[in-house]
Amino acid sequence: MISYQRGYGSGFSLPALLLFVPLLLVMVLALFVSLTQGSQWTGRYQGHVAAEYVAEAGAADALQQLKAQPNWVRGFQNKAMIDGRGTYTITFNQSGSNLKITDSINNFDGEHPDSALGPETVPDGTALLSVAAKVGAYEKRAFFLIGTGDPIIRVKHALLASGRIQLRGRTNIRAVESLAEEGNLSALVQSNQEGHGTDMVSWNGLPNQLDIRGEVRSSSRSATAVNLSGYVPTGGIITSAAQVPVPPAGIVANVYAKRGAQPFTQDLTTVPSGESYRGSDLEVHGDLVLEGDLYVEGNLKVNGSITGNGSVYVTGDSELYGDASINAKNRVALHSQGHVKLNGFDGDRYLDARAAADTSDADGDGQPDFSRWLSEARWATEFIESEASAGRWGVDSDLDLALSVLAPGLTPDDRASQFQTEGHATLGHHDVGATLVRMKERLGTLDPGPTRDFMIKKLENLSELYSANGGVLGQADAKAFEDFQNHGTIRGVVEGANDPGIGGAAATTEELERRRAIALNIVSQVNTDKLGSSYFQGLIYTNGAFIADNQVTVLGAVVVNDDGSQRALSTSSGPVAPGDLLLRNGSNIAYVKDFFFGPQTRPRGPRRILLHLGDG
């Protein structure tokens, strides 16, 4: 019985157990593997997505910081999200060296253009953010470019060229803080072309016709890289100079990106506020006035000047003349992918020709009237600048009396010279008054033409600059400067700086000094012996060649940067290579720092993410 029971109960449960247990184990294992794999994929995906959003949050946080504080470089170190899930890190490296892909760069100041992506990869007025996000074990790095999208080119050079700089004839180059403040700076002129080229910066002309108040540099290692025919600028000459990075303007890309902007038709001469686009060549008869930005996919020809405040982008060549007047508010940035020709009107040659041709002698002094007016006007403009530079201002000063040689002093019809009435025999026989008005009136009797019309406008503008405020212009001295401040006009500025308080409350000493600094700056731009000079105010940037002719005065800067996209420019005197800068026939350059680093150069519009550069 016992053995039966033993035999019956053994031998089945064990095999069954041995059979089931491995199977169960396999099943559990399969389930575990399947669940684990699915869980891993899900977790990985979730972590990846979460890290992506944390990186976005980090960029948004940094954007807020940069909006509040443009020079913000503190960054974040493992800053936790509000719900605690995830952290982000942003590390700035503003040193310019040892740059890593993990470094963020703040280049809102235009001083930090380099990043780990390469030199000049962070545009002026932007910040490159490298955001590291971490959620649990998952990490992600994302890159963003922050800015306003309002491209800025800040230059420190009056003339900067990737090729040769050729100066011909009477040339003045200087630099000022602004048109409204006292302060002369050292002007910088640089040719960026390396190698052993000679005459990279050259000048030829008559003795004493070159005046460079600053420094001339060439990146060429040749000892004769700078050949100014023996002239030495006030700041000296430097060869083997380090190349200056030329900020790219992205002209073609900028124009293409604006194809959807409001169309600018041929009949318009004023660019409305905002952005306007022209899809073909544009020729403007008269001045092109900027109230906004213009993008031209083609060539631009302006049979006058470009004035106002705004930018022009041209994918082709640009040609313009110049403005007859200075307006302190004018600030134009002309970006041309092709060549730029800035033609003046050769006003002085025109005036000299008139003086030779006009032999009428109404006062019977034996000297033709026009010739005398012209020589008196030239003397007076030079004399006034000289007196103003020496600080010899004041009521009934020589400067004050010399104003009447140029423009009316008592009433609009006054043509008398107070030099004569005050009897300044020691300074010569300058007894003819209002010469600018007299010449303007005489030119008005001639047949119209571009140069005549330009000169009439120019003489009228100059006459207003030197006219008396109270009796002639019908305004208080203070009003002249109020208009200068608000509208950039220069009517009555010289007399207003000389006679404080006439036609209004007396100016304080500080105010008087400010006015005199403004007046001196303006008078200096008139440029004494160049009554016929035309003006361009702002920046000229070209990827081709630049040629200025016929007494052109540029208040601002010229940047010529050959990017390989242009062929040589054919001229009557031979081809001019892309990257070359040619100033001939008496051109003047006055670098105005305020145009590039002043309060008005701050980027327009809110800062935002301009480009999503991807993830790492």
Binding site: M27, W41, G149, A253, L611, H612, G614
Partner: protein
């Protein structure tokens, strides 16, 4: 009373009952084992397909994010799309510094070949052309050929794709809907996976 021997054999009924029980047990065991194996294989298959889709999806989303909407082209049957890419051969995003605009390098084309059950990609370089700086759909590039003419010589990036459709549910957003299937080795019924991926143009 008959003596019961300890060595007595089982009756036929006992054997049959035992065999039936054993068969039932083995049957249940086989069923469970089969189901477990199928579940494991199905899980592995689904995981594999999901992983493939995730890799492709991430790549597609990245490409869309860094591209620009005005470069988008889609075929009428929604089986192919093309967008511009600013990434160079090293995967570095190229941009025109002065204009803070992407400097486009190539068109990225994604298209489905139903007969091969493949999602393929190919690229068309735009280097040296004005398209580098001017975004636009592939139909306006070069000779102006329609997108359909570019759908060849692609490289397979996702297998087992039965159905695929690109669409634009709203501005700046792209949708990729796809269904994949894989025939299981232990089953006549294929394992399938359907997914929808959304991506937004960021540039």
């Amino acid at each position: 009373m008959p003596r019961i021997s300890a060595n007595r054999a089982f009756t036929i009924a006992e054997v049959m009952i035992a065999a039936t029980v054993m068969l039932m047990l083995f049957g249940a065991l086989f069923f469970i084992c089969h189901q477990a194996t199928r579940a494991m294989l199905k899980g592995a298959s689904q995981s594999g397909m999901l992983a493939d889709v995730q890799v492709l999806g991430q790549r597609w989303r990245n490409a869309v994010q860094k591209s620009r909407e005005d470069s988008l082209s889609m075929t009428a049957n929604s089986q192919a799309m093309a967008i511009l890419s600013a990434e160079d051969d090293n995967g570095r995003f190229q941009y025109e510094v002065g204009a803070t605009q992407p400097r486009w390098q190539e068109y990225l084309i994604f298209y489905h070949v139903p007969t091969e059950r493949l999602l393929k990609t190919r690229s068309v370089s735009v280097l040296g052309t004005s398209r580098e700086l001017a975004s636009g759909p592939i139909e306006t590039y070069a000779s102006g050929d329609p997108l359909e003419d570019y759908l060849f010589d692609g490289k397979g990036v996702l297998r087992r794709v039965d159905q695929l459709a690109f669409s634009q549910p709203e501005p700046s957003t792209l949708k990729l809907s796809l269904s994949l299937s894989e025939k299981g080795s232990h089953s006549q019924r294929p394992e399938s996976l359907s997914l929808t991926i959304l991506a937004t143009f960021r540039n």
